[in-house]
């Protein structure tokens, strides 16, 4: 099955160093359209750096990133989003002081390809009812429909993570980069997030960075292991579980 799928994201020998330290050292990775691809690795392996480089928050020093056939390396973050690449952050990144609904409408409004320009200075936004309707729809998808009028900072941690997922979904991505979506969550909230990602994965390709191994092995179609800035293994969960290098480098006695 999987070898018939098209490659959506092709990361080819990407390097990124900070001073003399290589956070990424010729890391290569292929994400196929439609899969949930988990990226695991010990702390400091370069996972978040890779997400930063892919999303455009940091430039790569070397290497090539192809997304849906387009070279991303020189594109600014907002153009990558327009191409269909969206990310969540390890630390929740929403608009805390805005209402939950305003959070989502501003994200929906970002899709200029659907709504026309945001350089509209005169027409009241309240007339853009289609955007508001879509925002309500997204809130329903992440089970926050009842909280639309609350300020985002009043939500629980888990609800805020779900809100961030709604923001990311609003950009209608082809590929979701989720950076530790379960970080800091209790077991109930984690279970809810796993359910949400399973639901999303039917429509979107996901590159998931996560420490919670139960979630990773439950969600992932394929797993890549990043150690010391290099991908040391890529394959389906069974192969990764059995891989001797991975067990030595990462899973340790857990495997």
């Amino acid at each position: 099955m999987s070898d018939q799928r098209a490659t959506l994201l092709d990361v080819h020998e990407v390097s990124k160093h900070f001073g003399g330290i290589y956070a990424l050292n010729a890391a290569s990775l292929k994400v196929e359209a439609g899969e949930v691809h988990a990226l695991i690795g010990p702390n400091g392996a370069g996972k978040t750096t890779l997400i930063h480089v892919l999303s455009g928050a940091m430039p790569a020093d070397a290497g090539r990133v192809l997304f849906a056939g387009q070279d991303l390396v020189r594109r600014p973050m907002h153009e990558r989003v327009a191409l269909g690449l969206a990310r969540s952050y390890q630390i929740t990144n929403i608009f805390p002081r805005l209402t939950v609904l305003d959070n989502v409408t501003i994200a929906v409004q970002a899709r200029v390809r659907d709504w026309g320009s945001s350089f509209s200075f005169w027409k009241p936004f309240s007339l853009d009812s289609a955007i508001v309707a879509e925002a309500h729809d997204l809130l329903a998808q992440v089970s926050l429909a009842g909280l639309a009028g609350r300020r985002a900072l009043q939500l629980s941690h888990g609800e805020q993570r779900c809100l961030e997922v709604a923001l990311v979904l609003a950009t209608k991505p082809k590929l979701l980069l989720l950076d530790e979506p379960m970080a800091g969550m209790g077991p109930d909230e984690s279970a809810r997030m796993v359910g949400l990602i399973e639901h999303l994965a039917r429509r979107v390709t996901v590159l998931l960075v996560e420490h919670d191994m139960d979630a990773v092995f439950r969600l992932a179609d394929r797993i890549s292991v990043l150690v010391g800035g290099r991908i040391i293994a890529s394959g389906d969960p069974e192969a990764i579980r059995a891989d001797a290098d991975v067990r030595r480098a990462y899973l340790g006695d857990e495997g």
Binding site: S118, S120, T171
Partner: protein, 317 residues
Amino acid sequence: MALYRSSPGRRIAAGVVLVLLVLLPWLLEILDQSFYVSFASRVLIFALAATTLNLVIGFGGMVSFGHAAFFGVGAYCVAILADSGVLSAALAWPLAAGVAALLALLVGAISLRTRGVYFIMITLAFAQMVFYLVLSLKSWGGDDGLSLLHRSTFGSLDLKDDSTFYFVVLALLTLVLAALDRLAHSRFGRVIQSIRENETRMEALGYPVFTYKLVCFVIGGGLAGLAGALLVNQSGLASPSLLHWMQSGTLMVMIVIGGVGSVFGGVVGAVLLLLCEEFFVGISPHWQIGLGLVLLAVVLRAPLGIAGLFGWGRNRE
């Protein structure tokens, strides 16, 4: 801060204030205090200048410490044009706004690449550069400033008449406030307010943040130039002190007192500050100590400013 939302109550309050302001010249005439009409124009012009800064700081979240440069450049444009015989307001005022907007484009294009305290410092540096440039140009009066011998002419309106000039100023201020209210509720207004709230998130949602901030900065700068064009007509002098950093500071104090990020914050602040100055300066030359205490109280107890206290600002919930 939540996104700005105007309420019917706020609009009614603004309408009542507008009616009072329209009646003001007659009221002053009845009270035999017509001298104050020109002072009232001055207050409204500063209200306009402070409002333009509020667009940049309060809505756009760009703490610019160089707004006086655009204000002063507008004033100098009108004075220089008048000096070379161009008196038409229809020509000189838009030109003043245009030159100020162009300067804002230049300053913004460079300054907006920095954030936080660096942005504050670099806008201050640019404004001081313009200040010293004007100070050194003897042909434009150097540190004496440049007098405006004749007020601008505007069709059949006699701007030399203080009441007529007052009404023109009031009309322009009303227009700008109405436009700002529209802008605050428009797509663009929501984008710049959301950038103020979380710039990184906006970038990650696909907004070209730099462009939005620059457009907002240029609109604010250009309208400040218009305020400067009005001020030189009111006072009859384009003085280098209009460009000085203390002028930028005064405008900031106005919006902090009035209400940062509220459409009427600049107006409230300018009116309070200039009224206090007018009436307390006669009582004691050290009246600004009192101002300092008021500022302290506002920052500590009412961070949304006076407008916020009365619910004229943003929705607090």
